[in-house]
């Protein structure tokens, strides 16, 4: 315990915890069953982590400004459906158009938030409902299979670099890009400032409204990339198929990756490990030989334990 306390006082605890948790889990799995750490295990884990990672990256950018985007997983699902419908006819152009559309949807979330001062939880819960209906209506409640130009997206999943599919690498590239954005650009610094202290940011003449719009637009854009990853993996899209339950894993991955739910603290590079951890839990449970039915239980205990270990506790801070 003394060691833990010391580690917590160590200012970089936040940055080391997420990879530490992931590698600790790898170690445990390796002890029980080394087969899961082979090439096949790696490609399965990273493939299932890819959509979670992309959704989580968008979510962590929104959490960083102190808001939450409950609609971003639904955005990626709508995106996947639209992609499956348009790629056969328009190819790459369709991908660009869908990404642009989803970025606009995200930005609309941000605009409503910035100009009406509604709580983001309630607002995005509303847009979540609308997007769910959109997904059902657009797809006609059916599974849409990619007929032509199938290889255009599915290669993203089937082509592998170091046993890891390109969809996951796409997530890593986005993570690095967002890390650069947050750490090295003025826009990124403004976002963190809004998350740490919004009143302070307003009084410092930071364009807080635009910061919010940009953060939500990023969330929509990244949701679109997650949509591409879904279509690449499944070769099809439907309102209830692969990717329809990404919201909670996405939030969990962002939190396990050390993102603070109250804002002002995120590290996109660590979200990569958060997503890997979240995607690896079911595999780990199987490897250790637990009943597959225990998955949810372990998942829940895991989220609480990891966040309990990494959350900030300043004296006098009000935790909601």
């Amino acid at each position: 315990m003394a060691f833990l306390t010391k580690l917590r006082e160590f200012s970089a605890w936040h940055t080391v915890a997420p990879p530490l948790v992931f590698f600790a889990m790898l170690l445990v799995v390796g002890v029980f069953n080394s087969n899961y750490l082979g090439p096949l295990g790696i490609s399965i884990a990273t493939a299932s982590a890819a959509p979670i990672l992309l959704v989580a990256l968008g979510q962590s950018m929104v959490l960083n400004i102190g808001s939450i985007d409950l609609s971003n997983a639904a955005i990626s699902l709508v995106g996947a459906i639209l992609l499956a419908m348009t790629i056969p006819a328009f190819g790459v152009g369709a991908m660009i158009a869908v990404l642009a559309l989803l970025t606009v949807i995200g930005a609309i979330n941000g605009l409503i938030l910035a100009y009406t001062h509604v709580p983001s939880f309630a607002l995005t819960l509303g847009t979540l409902g609308i997007l769910q209906t959109t997904a059902l209506v657009v797809s006609g409640s059916e599974t849409i299979y990619l007929s032509e130009n199938r290889e255009l997206v599915t290669t993203l999943y089937s082509a592998k670099l170091f046993y890891i599919p390109l969809t996951f690498w796409m997530g890593v590239v986005v993570a690095v890009a967002y890390w650069v954005l947050l750490r090295l650009t003025r826009v990124g610094q403004n976002m963190t400032a809004v998350g740490k202290n919004e009143s302070g940011a307003i009084l410092s003449a930071i364009p807080t409204k635009w910061v919010k719009v940009i953060a939500f637009a990023i969330s929509g854009f990244t949701g679109g990339l997650a949509g591409i990853a879904i279509v690449a993996q499944a070769g099809s899209a439907s309102a209830s198929g692969l990717g329809s339950a990404l919201l909670l894993p996405g939030i969990a991955a962002a939190l396990v990756g050390g993102t603070s739910i109250s804002g002002g603290l995120t590290n996109p590079l660590n979200v990569v490990f958060g997503a890997l951890t979240v995607a690896f839990v079911p595999i780990a449970i199987q490897a250790i030989g637990f009943n597959a039915a225990a998955q949810s239980l372990v998942y829940g205990i895991f989220i609480i334990a990891v966040v309990t270990l990494t959350t900030t506790r300043t004296r006098g801070l009000v935790i909601k």
């Binding site: 001062h117 509604v118 709580p119 939880f121 979540l128 989220i303 609480i304 966040v307 959350t311 935790i319």
Partner: protein, 323 residues
């Protein structure tokens, strides 16, 4: 003066008016809407979310959030049916099944509250965790065997039986609602929760046992979710880990539409209850009016959007901070 008029608009009057408009509109669209059978049907549907929303409001009033609803419902519902007369196990322990299932809800709520208040982990995260934990317990109880169905006719019929013209399940919900109103308005504890939501540091410096109140609020919410899980299982007649599916996205919008601010310190149990009525009647009316059920979540979403914007609009300000 400005503040007064805002209070009136965002208060129960506005939402009650909306409710009346909906009822009139749906009655005109389909005469069956206003029939006695449909009224009983609405009361049947409304009772489960009504029980949950009492706990949800108490938690939201103090500025926290409880996402664990569906998981706790699943765990309690499964525990209850496996200990009542059912097709799977011979483990009927009669009335004690209620105590075990409600106790499970209570313990899950206590765990959420204790980790939140004592270990200072945001309630959003803790209750997300206990959602999974509850769901996990339910799935483990469910196992791979047959679907457990209720074999006791008396228990299966109880929710739909009429007492004084109203279904029993609604009476149960009404009693819980009345108790909730009493606790939140007329007890030190209830006022304390509101004070915590308004300004926690001040509540604390006035010597209020803030941590204990927080834990108690989550414990109540957990127990009520347990009760809702039992009732939903009874209504369905068989057990399922997903018995609470979709309830979270009824009760939280209902609380918000009713004017309970997610930042805490505002709203109340009654307002959230009216929100539940609004959403369920809306759903029922749309089905009767022949609208495709696919549109349900979209309509809910639209209403939620309009409601939050209408509440927040007069309170906009350049320096306002809304998370």
């Amino acid at each position: 003066m400005r503040n007064l008029s805002i209070k009136n608009l965002s208060g129960p009057t506005g939402i009650l008016a909306a409710l009346v408009v909906l009822i009139v509109l749906f009655s005109l669209l389909n005469p069956r809407f206003a029939s006695v059978e449909n009224l009983q049907n609405v009361l049947f549907q409304v009772s489960v979310p009504l029980i949950i929303v009492v706990g949800t409001s108490l938690v939201i009033q103090m500025g926290s959030i409880d996402l664990s609803v569906e998981g706790v419902m699943g765990a309690a519902g499964m525990a209850w049916i496996l200990l009542s007369p059912n097709t799977r196990l011979e483990g009927d322990i009669g009335v004690w099944a209620w105590f075990v299932a409600l106790g499970l809800g209570l313990v899950l709520g206590l765990i959420t509250g204790a980790i939140y208040a004592k270990l200072k982990v945001p309630s959003f995260v803790v209750s997300l965790g206990t959602w999974y934990v509850g769901l996990g317990i339910a799935i483990l109880l469910y196992g791979n065997a047959l679907l457990p169905s209720l074999t006791s006719e008396a228990l299966a019929r109880w929710p739909t039986q009429l007492t004084l013209g109203l279904p029993n399940c609604f009476w149960l919900a009404a009693v819980i609602l009345a108790a909730g109103v009493f606790v939140s308005h007329y007890t030190k504890f209830g006022r304390g929760l509101m004070a915590i939501g308004n300004n926690e540091p001040i509540a604390r410096s006035n010597g209020m046992p803030v941590d204990r109140y927080k834990i108690a609020a989550f414990a109540i919410a957990g127990t009520l979710c347990g009760l809702a899980g039992i009732l939903a299982t009874m209504q369905l007649g068989s057990g399922s880990p997903d018995i609470g599916f979709g309830q979270l996205f009824v009760v939280i919008p209902a609380a918000v539409i009713g004017g309970t601010a997610l930042s805490g310190g505002e709203g109340g149990v009654i307002r959230s209850a009216i929100g539940v009525f609004l959403l369920i009647i809306l759903n029922n009316g749309l089905v009767l009016a022949g609208v495709d059920p696919d549109y349900q979540s979209g309509v809910f979403g639209m209403i939620l959007l309009i409601a939050v914007i209408a509440v927040a609009w007069p309170q906009r300000g350049r320096l306002k901070v809304a998370k």
